[in-house]
Amino acid sequence: MNFYVEVIASVTLIFGGVFLLIGSIGLARLPDVYMRLHAPTKATTLGIAGVLIASCIIQSYRQETLSISELLITLFLIITAPIAANMIAKAALHHDIKPIDKTQGQEFIPSVKDRLPPPAKPNES
């Protein structure tokens, strides 16, 4: 295999693997559910995109034709990761899971849970 293709694919693969590891460490170590949602949905999506781009480069070089079918998975994951995160956050709010005490804006939790407009600020009207 061509040396430069190998270097580019290896760098992309390492990039993706490191971001997947960062997402998993964040999932294991952050303190509550709403913080833990951030690590897998952002870092892991970037990591899987790196691995898929490396796979795209290598398969395109091996088959000597442009293989863009890997980009399908990237597109699908980029579309579905925010939807899954939104649904998990709604389920966590519905089950009354408390965030840690330093979380700002905790007065909005009941209105978000009941899907009402936010409460009026005291300095208005």
Binding site: G16, V18, L20, V33, P40, T45, Q59, E70, K90
Partner: protein, 89 residues
Amino acid sequence: MLDITIQIVGLILCASLILNLYRLLIGPNLPDRILALDTMFINGIALILLYGIAIEHAIYFEAALLIAMLGFVSTSALCKYLLRGDIIE
């Protein structure tokens, strides 16, 4: 050089899967466990693609696509069940 890279990234992915399994086992609430399962699906896709690179064959791409779709469907079904107590109303 690609062989060594594939081995290193495989080790990284195995460590990620072990961390996800730790969160899946100790997770204090149900949304934690669903989130850990979703992340395990994504790491599994990466591991399957890595195996597809290692054996120099493109047959495993379809498996990765199927697992991506099943992961999203199972995550949303579990969240829907937790939210409503029912999946198809």
